[in-house]
């Protein structure tokens, strides 16, 4: 796991990340503290990128992807940071060396294979329940039953958010491109089950084009300045795979620092991956503890307390009066629970968040860096001394500050080699076509 923090104010954006990487294999897992998670996205312009989650995208290390993109980007620049982010995500919208067609097809095969196998399992379980409930089903009704069950899943999945990179026509194109593969998968997974091929193609299109991510995905955070950005911005994405030369991704954060717009803020602290310590620091309470407290209080007020009152009135009220009073007390309990929640949020904001953000807005660049490093360090330290948690956050902390005038500045950066022995590396850093 990872702890990453981005802190933005009008001066700059500071990025900090730990170095832990977890290698899982059949024998268990090992943790190394040598991973690089912060990179420059451009060698010439003030834009940085952090990654977390899976270290690879479809088997290709993010470091390689970023450095190949950076090499191609060269000295080109964009007006706004969001344009850098879009350009990076569109980097794969063509034939490319990183993700050849065969690799993308293999991914589709495995991904759809997994989703279809899950669907088959669900269909099988529902039919098992139906047989138990009715005692038997006949073969004539099987196609209709199967269709109805699958339709239910299709309609449920259709409610998921659509991926920006997969508009309807792109999804149709993917399904058409891989039609033969899909038919083969359907035959293999569903064997002799009478399925509606058109409905199944629709299902495949949905799991490709909607926000449905299996476990594996990576977080990508892009921060800095475009040419016309006076203040920094940050965009974060969850990325899963390249399908038909399109990235399956969703935007998870968009923060702009500014002076006027209501969508812009004075300053912001944004944690990624392991976020709980930053949340505790910012809000004065652990998010899990807060959520449990809220749930418990709600249960007490909506169910527990009304039950106690009604028990004490047993025998004194008719059934109708009891039910009416229960409904009223539950409603009151809901209102009180909501009020507690609102008050709690307001108090946390006033007492903890606002004082920090007010100071943060005026912090100089070096203090931003120190704060970002401290917050990552806090997460790492907490995990190190907590028995129930593994040291999946740790190692040296890389810290960078990006400002409009100075560009991307490393405050702390580990190297896996001795720079004194590798003068050529630094000398060639801006060399034409270099991937460093």
């Amino acid at each position: 796991m990872t702890a990453e923090v981005a802190i933005l104010n009008r001066n700059a954006v500071a990025l900090a990340a730990d170095s832990a990487v977890t290698l899982r294999n059949s024998g268990g897992q090992k943790i190394y503290n040598t991973a690089n998670k912060v990179f420059t996205l451009s060698k010439y312009n003030p834009v940085g990128v952090m990654v977390f989650g899976d270290a690879n995208l479809m088997g290709v290390p993010w470091e390689t992807i970023i450095k190949m993109y950076r090499s191609e980007l060269g000295a080109s620049h964009f007006d706004y940071l969001e344009d850098y982010a879009k350009n990076f995500l569109n980097f794969f919208h063509r034939e490319n060396l990183l993700f050849p067609a065969g690799l993308q097809e293999q991914f589709i095969k495995d991904y759809l294979g997994f989703q279809l196998t899950q669907l088959r399992k669900s269909v099988r379980d529902e039919i098992a329940q139906l047989i138990v409930a009715k005692g038997e089903i006949d073969e004539v009704s099987v196609p209709g039953i199967v269709r109805e069950i699958i339709q239910k899943y299709v309609e449920e999945l259709e409610k998921h958010e659509s991926l920006v990179s997969f508009p309807d026509e792109a999804v149709a194109e993917v399904v058409a491109t891989y039609r033969n593969l899909i038919r083969e998968l359907l035959a293999e997974v569903f064997e002799k089950l009478p399925i509606d091929i058109e409905q199944m193609e629709r299902f495949c299109g949905i799991v490709i084009g909607k926000r449905i991510f299996v476990d594996n995905s990576s977080g990508v955070v892009i921060a800095g300045f475009g040419e016309k950005d006076v203040f920094p911005a940050l965009y974060a994405y969850q990325c899963q795979a390249i399908v038909a030369n399109r990235m399956r991704y969703v935007q998870t954060n968009a923060t702009r620092i500014g002076l006027t717009s209501s969508s812009e803020s004075d300053a912001s602290i944004i944690p990624f991956a392991q976020r709980e310590m930053v949340n505790r620091f910012m809000e004065g309470i652990d998010p899990d503890f807060e959520s449990e407290t809220r749930k418990y209080l709600s249960t007490l007020l909506v169910d527990g307390y009304p039950d106690l009152i009604l028990d004490s009135l047993k025998g004194k009220l008719s059934d109708e009066e009891t039910n009416s009073l229960r409904a009223k007390l539950a409603e009151l309990g809901q209102n009180l629970s909501r009020e507690f929640s609102d008050q709690s949020v307001a108090f946390r904001r006033r007492k903890f968040v606002e004082p920090i953000v007010e100071t943060l807005a005026a912090l100089p660049k070096d203090e931003l860096a120190a704060m970002a490093e401290s917050l990552v360090n806090l997460t790492s330290f907490k995990r190190r001394v907590t028995s129930a948690e593994e040291d999946t956050v740790g190692g040296p902390i890389d810290v960078a500050v990006i400002s409009k005038g100075d560009g991307f500045i490393w405050i702390k950066r580990k190297h896996y080699f001795d720079p004194a022995l590798n003068a050529h590396f630094l000398a060639n850093y801006f060399g034409k076509g270099g991937l460093r």
Binding site: G53, I127, I131
Partner: protein, 58 residues
């Protein structure tokens, strides 16, 4: 033969699976090996997804 007799009834999920998922219901040893090659089935598909990156996590 009456029409009632000709309609197959399934009274257990095992009967249903045997009829509609015969390959999974009666897996052949060579078939299992073939699936292993193909990285298929729920567990195999997950393992296959793993090879696309879940093994190394930041």
């Amino acid at each position: 033969m009456t029409s009632e007799q000709s309609v197959k009834m399934y009274r257990s999920i095992e009967e249903f699976e045997e009829a509609f998922f015969p390959a999974s219901f009666h897996p052949q040893p060579e078939r299992v090996a073939e699936r292993d090659e193909d990285s298929f089935g729920e567990e195999l598909a997950l393992r296959s997804l793993d090879k696309f990156g879940a093994l190394l996590r930041l």
